[in-house]
Symmetry: D2
Subunit: 284 residues, 4 copies
């Protein structure tokens, strides 16, 4: 046999669950998607088809549902922490457990201006996320958000860029910046009030996006990330991924019309900027 197994993992992905809390007439509803991955000593399952060390993904799923009953009502980071703890303690054959939880938003239906106790409508495309990686040696907790579509219609320039023979893009002193915010940040310590902290990071990211004078997608990315690090002390690093849509002004000149206001929105993001920004301990 001339083949050797390298890095490997197996997972149960996309475990969907609704968790309902009935607090009298007021219900709470959580809509979660959980992914569980194991890395560890699975050599013989690959090479000899010996499943003695394989906990079935079907069991992972059962476990998530069972633990959800008591632990899925609070912060998703805590639910992910509980799941990784369970899986690592019960499975010595596993070296590292990864659990990711994504939460869809549901908001209460408003009746005569007051939120209803048990009727909900689905929020936007944005999801709150948590990712926990746990092994005997280390524990990493990340929070994030993804899928939040943003547009700013002022203070977005792109000038002074490198040109070569294939460059036809004109410089733009004040255009529209349309992107989708995907962020993931890591905490420097593990005792964090996850909910309020998530709200604060999100708010800083949105405010910085709205307020700053963008000179490029990269500039916006770094400015947002640094603001989050500066204003949110528990963060040790933050990773942003910004796919950009490029709305294009429709050319109405064939019809003798000026146009500064009707755009074709880009449906598919093309440009993507991604980077991690870390707290600079030296600079402290």
């Amino acid at each position: 046999m001339s083949a050797r197994l390298g890095e490997n993992r197996y997972s149960e992905a996309g475990i969907r669950l609704l968790k309902l809390n009935r607090l009298g007439d007021r219900h709470e509803l959580r809509d979660l998607t959980v992914d569980v991955s194991f890395e560890g000593d699975f050599e013989t399952s690959h090479t000899r088809g010996d499943n003695a060390r394989i906990l079935p993904t079907h069991t992972m799923r059962n476990t998530v549902y069972s633990i959800a009953r008591d632990r899925a009502s609070g912060d998703i980071e805590k639910f992910a922490l509980a799941l990784t703890q369970h899986f690592l303690e019960q499975n010595p054959q596993v070296r590292t457990v990864y659990v990711r939880v994504a939460e869809e938003q549901w908001t209460r239906v408003s009746i005569a201006g007051r939120p209803h106790g048990c009727a909900f409508s689905r929020g936007g495309l944005e999801r709150r996320t948590a990712l926990v990686e746990r092994s005997a040696a280390r524990l990493i907790v990340e929070s994030g958000l993804e899928g939040l579509r943003l547009v700013k219609t002022r203070n977005a320039a792109f000038v002074g860029f490198l040109r070569d023979r294939f460059t036809t893009l004109p410089e733009s002193g004040d255009g529209m910046l349309a992107t989708e915010l995907n962020a993931r940040w890591r905490y420097g310590w593990s005792e964090v009030p996850f909910g309020p902290q998530w709200q604060q990071v999100r708010q800083v990211l949105l405010e910085t996006f709205a307020e700053h004078d963008s000179r490029s997608l990269q500039h916006t990315l770094f400015t947002m990330a640094s603001a989050a690090l500066e204003q949110c002390p528990p963060l040790s690093e933050i990773r942003l991924r910004l796919p950009a849509f490029h709305p294009v002004l429709v050319d109405l000149s064939p019809f003798a019309m000026e146009n500064h206001e009707v755009f074709i929105p880009g449906e598919v993001p093309h440009s993507v900027a991604e980077a991690v920004v870390r707290r600079d301990e030296m600079a402290g």
Copy 2:
């Protein structure tokens, strides 16, 4: 030749546009998708490839962008009315024009509790729609909404249904009703304040969904539709389509756990109820 052309139409579908209004520091952003369809005398284009009566769909698209510059800022019903009027007047070969406009929601980013003038985030999956059908003989205006996911976690029963040898569904005295609201209503007259009227119909539909005791999907549909007709006089009829998702309680009994709160959400809607409900003039 033994073939005869029957009903036919051609269309330009999915014309996407952003309309930006710059009112000083406060910008307004509209995100619209327009479909245009023509029915008329297109026999020879089919049978002989004679295009003399075919206005290209490419021209439809140009026209929508051009007219959008001045007309896309108000109610989408009015934009659709302007488009159908243009197309019908300019094209005698066309018998009927259909224009559909769907509007995506964007909401202002909130900074320190105040809405920002030129930064927006994408709202939910819900779209507001308008559909205008216009010919020399008639003009129909419909408004609607689609894609609004709703859940009620109380007051949803399904009992007393017909049973046969293939029935295994248990009766449910109080379950969860998860659906997606798709509604389209027709106005009995054409001078309607479309925006406020749309808000009112939407609010009546949501309140009825939240408040009523549902005995079935059909019962919910009819109750919502009748409430809209009763409380919104300009409506002459309303058509609802309610695909239902069926969240299923996870069976945790193998693990000696009771479970009344962890559900597997149905990802794909299976049951669908659809009906039109009309104002009963006789009953007046």
Copy 3:
């Protein structure tokens, strides 16, 4: 109450099933999706929440699975016929039953040039469809196909079309025609060898698409439809829907390059032509 129930139906949509036939070492695999709809006397279920005439959609689903065991191995038209017969006979409250079956393609994996007995790979995006409508008074059987993406790179012109002030499209003497074939045809009698007939109609449609000189999307549509009617006697009518993608030549002139061969494919179809073509009995 001033509201009156109009047209209404309810459905169980998207019933997915795999049917496996084990013929010794040679297995057969069918991948079907079934939709069932009922129209009938459901007034009181809407108006009073009385479910006594409502066969649950859950039961429809159970029934489809049960009948699939013995009837899902042959032509999908026959499976749909069996299902409509069952539902109509067993449910006097139902006036009309609609059953639609769509079949995904799986092809045998080829080993050393020979098809394997029990390993399959998924075919293309094309689906074969059957639609049966059955009431006491009538029985309609339709076959079809959908989702078949086609391109012809020659013999596709579009000239002589109507021009107005918003027309900028140049005439094109020989371009590329990219579309998606969606076809549905009706049989004039019910004893038809459905499988061979489906193959024949499909082949006539494809050959006509490939061979004819297209003068427009409408011209292609009608030519394909007439060819099917002429060459396939059991067909009484055929309905085509052709959404067109418009590949656009990239403009490389800024780089002093001629370009007749690199295109940006349209990702979303914009133009759509649709029509029904019927056998002209008079012309016989």
Copy 4:
């Protein structure tokens, strides 16, 4: 400023193109999607909004189209090699260029059993892929395929697995294995006949999937990967990702029917096995 830029890159993703070669009456059609990513010295663009080192993604796109005119007709690996070479040579500020090319399948329409010269239909969901990473110091060429849905209906067991209190999965001696093949392999040297080699690896993977007795998803993965390494000498490593769908037998026992043949196909893959397998030089 307490923030420090870490790993970063920017990209133009999803550049879609059709390349048409007109060889007399016989045309050739390629359908490609290209992604280009740059890593390099972009610190000041992030921190100061200085774009002097940023080649716009719009230029990347223009460049891909321009180079496609002469280089997109052969193996996609060679196209990716040409693109990376251009970008690296022309851009000293760039340290590493990544180019990924994915190819959709189009097959010739068959007329009277003969392939047509200029009419094509879209093949399956499978895509052929190439990925080239190039810097001054290294050049990596990977080929692959993705999205190939496979089912085997025999010789797929899963027994002897680890059990805990949450395990309810029964052992299965002979079930159905449904997966999607995603593979990527690296060549040990750069002069490879990419097209024939791709065909050979694909064929070995399919044959092994079809023929071997699977004891688990991991076992299938490793057996496929080792076979590819053994039979295809240019490969130095191969990486497989196998999401598994779990078709479930419908329970017809409530209707007094046995069922071994009607399954509910899993629509969403849940289990996923992924691993890299390398040629073991020691074992040589």
